[in-house]
């Protein structure tokens, strides 16, 4: 098997005001013809730097110190720019992470695609025909008319399909996919994975997939390269990596993935510590500071590559021949200890949401009258009812656009409810004036989605965590004490108090967010995607911290997320939302064990498993979320439901209470 792309001892630095960052050190990897190779790593691992180095699109401060990238027999790194321009798009093409920002917002797909074909000596009409054909091939319905549309007129999944169409247009020899599903919902992710696999077979393409998502890598790839802090720590066949991982980092990473944990434990495994500062070239093994099995030699000398059977290789001192008697390990990386399940939920409900509806106006009153639109609104939340007790965690799950965030905001009085009631500790809180609501906000706190973006960039951590006190005019003069107390609580070192948000890692910024939410000892925390954008190894820390704080303080959590595996670990109860309605509610474990609503079943089945032997042959859910402005008749899920009958199309289902107390809104609940 010849390698189409052969990267040999690549060293890349970034020049920064604080000195050089050694972003890639001695990186070697091969992409054989006709294979899908996955490069997996967390943020800061250098996996994207590899792509940008190979395509020669590194940021201006990136410097290739040494190394080769042999593509089809020639070193790409020696190409002059005009020649490189011929390679890009023509021989090496890319699928990008976020289709929303990686496609021009002001040019139609037709224009963007004919632009890519500019090298073909054929008339524009022929280019357009090619583009339409490719759009059809990637599963975009009605491509003839949709090709004239712009990216903002496409849904997220369709946009990524169009992105794939653009990449395949020139029939490239190598396709590089950079986090191709990260910006998508689970159901869309499954469809895209399926599409890439199908296209790979059809075009016999060679694909390099870069991702942090182990599930995606396991489902898609033939070979896997694991990167950590700018080095390749292990590579091998996908089964070698997922079943016989030799490097402690690979093992730890696999253990951290909540999708892998089949039993519901309260504590998630984590990799303690942070990624090392790459301003200094590490002298020993780069993972040693975080490695549970680190030995003296690990800190002194860089490990050599050890080849195991079948091309599986790793860089770790544990495999040094002198250590035949086995590692001088401290302790095995144990499964997390079980946490005593104390008296958790108790007493009267903390929060009750009763038949809540939230609607948004989509056009002005005058325009609606002129256009003859009776109801110029869309219902973001329809008739939603929830109950949350003290010390309980409720997971609110749904695809993007399901209205879950709006529901959370309506509870906090940040979005205006149209109908229904919200009761907090027995008190009706809906429709209170902002002044009347203000004291309530001490008891109800929000953790916002984007950990760094929701913090003011010009304030120190001290100012940020004490801001809630100032807003409510509390503890004047004792703010420093409070700041230290909160830092302790979220286990943030005290010297972080004088830092600014941009100096924090994602996990640290999230801790600040937790501290802000906890500042006033609230009773209820509404957390919107609490782990979005965090690395798996850090995600566990935040979830564990949240769980611990809940046990200590009896907090009630309303967790809004599209990430089912995460929600599953921390929730007592689940509510599944589709098009603004709750379709299934009940005990978390029961729902996961036997989903009753077909949508829940599809969501549970849609999560890619970090297990290469459990690849799904079929996509669990077809199609897209319908527009809120045109809700399907009858059961709103019938357009995507594989069990749908005539009755589902005609009649809206009522709530059915199952034996275990679950409420499901379906004509044909899946009970066996």
């Amino acid at each position: 098997m010849t390698a189409l792309l052969d990267i040999r001892s690549l060293n890349v630095d970034f020049r920064t005001p604080r000195g050089r960052v050694h972003a890639l050190r001695d990186v070697s990897l091969q992409v054989p013809k006709g294979k899908i190779v996955g490069v997996v790593g967390e943020s800061g691992s250098g996996k994207s730097t590899v792509i940008w180095t190979v395509t020669r699109l590194l940021a201006a401060n990136g410097v290739v110190e040494s190394g080769e990238a042999i593509f089809d027999g020639q070193d790409l790194l020696t190409y002059p720019e005009p020649r490189m321009q011929e390679v890009r798009g023509e021989k090496v093409s890319m699928v990008f992470q976020d289709p929303m920002t990686s496609q021009s917002p002001v040019l139609s797909y037709g224009q963007q695609m004919t632009d890519i074909l500019y090298r073909r000596p054929e008339p524009d009409a022929e280019k357009m025909r090619r583009a339409v054909e490719m759009m059809r091939r990637v599963g975009i319905p009605d491509p003839e008319s949709r090709i004239a549309q712009y990216p903002h007129q496409f849904s997220g999944g369709m946009r990524q399909r169009a992105g794939i169409a653009m990449a395949l247009l020139m029939d490239p020899m190598l396709l590089v996919a950079d986090e191709p599903t990260t910006a998508l919902d689970v159901t869309m992710e499954a469809q895209i994975i399926h599409l890439i696999r199908e296209l790979q077979r059809e075009f016999e393409a060679t694909i390099m997939v870069v991702s942090h998502n182990l599930g995606l890598i396991a489902e898609l790839c033939d070979e896997v390269v694991v990167m950590y802090a700018g080095e390749v720590v292990e590579h091998g066949d996908v089964r070698d990596i997922f079943y016989r991982a030799a490097h402690p980092y690979t093992r730890a990473l696999l253990e951290c993935d909540p999708a892998r944990e089949m039993t519901r434990t309260r504590l998630l495994p984590v990799i303690p510590g942070d990624i090392p500062d790459l301003h200094i070239k590490p002298t020993g093994c780069v993972f040693a500071p975080r490695c549970p099995k680190a030995m003296v030699v690990c800190r002194e000398r860089q490990p050599d590559a050890h080849t195991l059977e079948g091309g599986h290789a790793t860089r770790c001192h544990l495999l040094d021949p002198g250590l035949a008697e086995g590692p001088v390990a401290q302790a095995e990386h144990t499964a997390p200890e079980a946490v005593s399940e104390g008296p958790r939920s108790s007493g009267a409900p903390l929060l009750e949401v009763d038949h809540l509806s939230v609607r948004f106006r989509i056009m002005g009153a005058l325009k609606a009258r002129v256009k003859g639109v009776q109801e110029p609104f869309v219902d973001a939340v329809l008739n939603a009812s929830l109950t949350l007790k003290r010390g309980e965690t409720l997971g609110l799950v749904g695809e993007s656009g399901s209205g879950k965030t709006t529901l959370g905001r309506a509870v906090l009085g940040l979005a205006e409810a149209h109908l229904g009631n919200v009761t907090f500790e027995g008190r009706d809180v809906l429709g209170l004036s902002p002044a009347a609501f203000k004291p309530l906000r001490r008891d109800m706190a929000m953790m916002f989605q984007d950990p760094v973006g929701s913090l003011s960039p010009r304030q120190t951590v001290r100012a940020l965590v004490t801001e809630p006190f100032e807003i409510h005019g509390l503890s004047k003069g004792r703010l420093d004490e409070e700041a230290e107390r909160l830092c302790d609580m979220v286990r943030l070192p005290l010297n972080f108090l004088s830092r600014y948000p941009h100096e924090l890692s994602g996990g640290q910024a999230r801790r600040v967010g937790v501290a802000r939410a906890l500042a006033l000892n609230p009773k209820l925390i509404i957390a919107d995607e609490p782990t979005a954008g965090l690395d798996v190894s850090v995600q566990g820390e935040i979830l564990n911290l949240m769980g611990e704080l809940q046990r200590e303080h009896g907090l009630g959590y309303l967790i809004i997320s599209h990430n089912l595996p995460v929600v599953r670990h921390i929730s007592d109860k689940l509510a599944i939302m589709y098009l603004g309605r709750l379709v299934e509610r009940g005990d978390s474990e029961a729902i996961f064990a036997r989903p009753a609503h077909p949508y829940t079943e599809a969501l549970v089945g849609g999560v890619p498993q970090p297990d290469p032997d459990k690849r799904r042959a079929l996509v669990s859910i077809e199609g897209e979320v319908p527009s809120l402005a045109s809700r399907p008749s009858g059961c709103e899920f019938h357009t995507r439901c594989k069990y749908a009958t005539e009755r589902c199309r005609a009649e809206r289902p009522g709530d059915t209470v199952l034996g275990d107390g679950r409420i499901v809104t379906c004509h044909h609940p899946l009970t066996d």
Partner: protein, 314 residues
């Protein structure tokens, strides 16, 4: 799109009406009785009463305003206090000069400033970028009346290349163009720097966007990337800026028209303020406001034509 156009047109009418009201009130807050000013101190009370009745000055304020607003909407801006000539007629003679000057000034500024901004954004910190930066700050900082005087000194008096005064022979396009060069240069110079800086800043931002990186990864030509992918987005804030800055440009033309003794709305306003010929001043200000509203509307329509997202959200 049509809905948006309709909405914007209605809004423009409202703005102009508000301007009319503001002008009307300002005029009435000027101390002194219009009747005694018009007829002089020796007019008899009978004559004064007859004049007041003729001019509707005996009616309540709102009634006077309605008459005024009605006349304005019909295109009647009143008449010159001295010559009794229709103000609308006077202005319609003067307006083309001002518009020609403003368009010429903005036109050459855009033709130079936008490419300069583009080029310096493509190669930030190159020598071209540095020189553009210096030119930008220089031209923004120097007031246009100073530029006018220097330009006259250099090009007309020392070099004797271009005429100094007036707008050229009526009917002779070439002569009019030659007379337009210096004032347009003087008025537009500040805009060169302004536009270059603006375009540079938004180009730099757009060039860092993911879709520019995608276009490069698909191997598109640098030229296509800059002009089709980047400039089309980067130019949007600049268009809005030009629309808003048009008001400032109009006040810039006042200086140029005075210094070059060119006919034009600015010159009229200046002369008539000195002569206390208020109907003409009032009409000229109103026309200027209307011009401003129209230009802003055109700028917004251009943005929505270039950006499908804006078009959609209307």
């Amino acid at each position: 799109m049509w809905w948006y156009l309709l909405k914007r047109l209605a809004l423009s009418v409202v703005i102009i009406l508000l301007a009319v009201a503001a002008l009307f009130l300002m005029l009435h807050s000027i101390p002194g009785d219009p009747v005694s000013i018009a007829l002089g101190p020796r007019a008899t009370p009978e004559v004064q009463a007859a004049y007041a009745a003729k001019m509707h000055l005996d009616k309540p304020l709102y009634y006077q305003f309605l008459i005024f607003a009605g006349n304005v909407l019909q295109g009647d801006l009143g008449s010159d206090v001295f010559s009794n000539r229709s103000v609308a007629l006077t202005l319609s003679e003067q307006l083309p000069y001002t518009i020609a000057l403003a368009v010429a000034a903005l036109g050459w500024a855009a033709l130079v400033g936008i490419p300069l901004g583009c080029l310096s954004a493509i190669r930030p910190n190159s020598w071209l970028d540095r020189i553009t930066g210096i030119i930008s700050v220089g031209t923004i900082a120097v007031p246009s009346f100073l530029v006018s005087i220097w330009a006259i000194l250099l090009f007309s008096i020392t070099l004797r290349w271009l005429p100094v005064i007036g707008a050229g022979e009526e009917g002779d396009i070439l002569s009019q163009l030659r007379h337009l060069i210096l004032p347009a240069f003087a008025v537009g110079l500040g805009w060169v720097g302004y536009l270059a800086r603006m375009v540079r800043a938004s180009m730099l931002e757009v060039m860092g966007e993911n879709y520019i990186r995608s276009a490069r990864a698909f191997g598109l030509r640098p030229r296509t990337i800059v002009f089709r992918y980047a400039l089309k987005v980067a130019i949007l804030p600049t268009i809005t800026l030009i629309g808003v800055g048009f008001g400032g440009l109009l006040s810039g033309t006042v200086f140029a028209e005075i210094i070059f003794s060119r006919p034009g709305v600015g010159k009229i306003i200046y002369d008539m303020v000195l002569a206390r010929n208020f109907p003409v001043v009032q009409g000229a200000v109103l026309v200027t406001i209307a011009l401003y509203v129209v230009v802003t509307l055109i700028a917004d329509l251009m943005v929505s034509w270039l950006d499908p997202r804006v078009r959609e959200s209307l």
